[in-house]
Amino acid sequence: MQVNQEFKPTIVAFCCNWCSYAGADLSGTNRLQYPANVKIIRIPCSCRLNPMFILRAFQRGADGVILCGCHPGDCHYTTGNYYARRRMTLLFSMLDFLGIERERTRVEWVSAAEGAKFAATMNEFVETVTKLGENKRLEDLRCKS
């Protein structure tokens, strides 16, 4: 039995339907690999992401959460990602203020044409979170059985 099993973080990626989810599809179509620990949840727009969802993911065992949306100015709904940007900036700052590793959260703008960027972002994010190790500061032990 391997004693020192490699740590594989759980990553939740929230992707807006119009740009980033399509970008993720494109990286699939181009067979660009990124780790399987990234699981994507489709939301209509980055502005749909409630901070509660992020905390929920950490509670349930996620080690990193990333939000991908259309580039500012390109939102399908015109302004959604601008609101998302403010909300996430403030939320991340607050988590940082509480001493929770700021590298566990990220926002990245990925257009429907940026399949390569999507894969690269995910690879890099997984690497960052793997280095950080298990999420201990925002964990709910009840969910770790």
Binding site: R60, R142, C143, S145
Partner: protein
């Protein structure tokens, strides 16, 4: 009666802690709490802790049982929080009296085994009061703060800690402590207690007799008007015993636990048909009727309040049992 020099207090605590977990009131005055004793920990300057010693016997959150569903099978898994023998030192007379009240609720049939186990495992070492706060009114309920009950009663003066075992558990505990010698505490100076501003709280009208009259009393509205509906009073109260049973789905299993509830909360005793006490007025009334009328009416006139004064200190808008008792007590005469 035994004694131990104050200078040897650390050794005494170390000796107790060597055998079982020991909790002492520690920390800054404004956040004092019963904390597991560690080397070098000092007793708090505060007269009393923010939360009472009730927490150690009836914790705010406590696991009851787990369920696991696989296919169509439901498995029931025992998941009690472990309880081990422990000693709590420095319980004041008021808090000690609260256990009489809690026992009558939790140890009557059907017995609450979670509470019972902790009561059996816990040894209460009380500490007599010498410098009460202006918010103290335990004497109104016939409690003598200079002569507290408990498994072991303690007195402290500048030089010595005096200890008297009151129960078998107490005797056993003291017999295991080598640094004790024989000695009697000097007589307590009770004069300061006569100066307490709230000592003559009018309680004659309470109890079962005037129940409906008090229930319908029109001044409840004015009293409850500013209540925010928070649970600060109930959660610092040593005698509040309401809890809610809830479940948490971890995805793998269901964890059933209980946690304190507060009658001040809008969803207290919420039922499918709705809220039996729809406004804060009814919920506010419930709390004080329970402490001053319902509880005594079913427990031989014993009040559900011990006069610790915590709610007087902690209510955000300074509404409390004393103001209620005075308003009701004076005017319904």
């Amino acid at each position: 009666m035994k004694k131990c020099p104050v200078s040897q207090l650390d050794a005494l605590f170390a000796s107790v802690a060597a055998r079982q977990k020991l909790y002492i009131p520690a920390g800054e005055a404004k956040t004092a709490a019963f904390q597991p004793w560690q080397e070098g920990m000092k007793l708090t300057d505060a007269l009393n802790t923010v939360r009472s010693a009730k927490d150690l016997f009836f914790p705010q959150v406590e696991n009851l049982v787990n369920f696991k569903v696989t296919g169509k099978q439901i498995e029931i898994i025992e998941n009690r929080d472990p309880s081990e023998p422990f000693v709590v030192f420095g319980v004041r007379a008021c808090d000690c009296r609260s256990f009489d009240i809690l026992d009558k609720v939790f140890l009557c049939d059907p017995v609450d085994t979670y509470y019972k186990t902790r009561r059996e495992n816990g040894v209460i070492m009380t500490l007599a009061c010498t410098e009460p706060e202006e918010t103290c009114f335990c004497t109104a309920f016939g409690i003598d703060p200079t002569d507290p009950a408990g498994d072991v009663s303690c007195w402290m003066d500048g030089e010595n800690l005096y200890l008297r075992a009151n129960t078998e558990k107490g005797e056993t505990l003291l017999s295991e402590l080598p640094m004790l010698s024989d000695g009697d505490a000097p007589a307590a100076d009770k004069t300061v207690f006569d100066r307490l501003p709230l000592k003559n709280l009018p309680l004659d009208k309470f109890g079962g007799e005037h129940m409906m009259e008090l229930f319908k009393y029109e001044k409840w509205a004015g009293l409850a008007e500013s209540c925010l509906g928070c649970g600060a009073c109930t959660f610092v109260c040593p005698t509040c015993q309401c809890y809610d049973i809830r479940e948490f789905n971890t995805g793998d299993e269901i964890k059933r636990f209980r946690c304190w509830d507060s009658c001040m909360y809008s969803d207290f005793t919420l039922m499918s048909a709705g809220q039996p006490r729809p406004t804060q007025l009814e919920r506010f009334r419930q709390r004080f009727m329970h402490k001053l009328v319902y509880y005594p009416s079913t427990h031989d006139g014993e009040f559900g309040c011990v006069g610790c004064g915590r709610c007087l200190q902690k209510c955000p808008i300074s509404m409390n049992i004393v103001k209620v008792a005075k308003t009701l007590g004076e005017e319904t005469t």
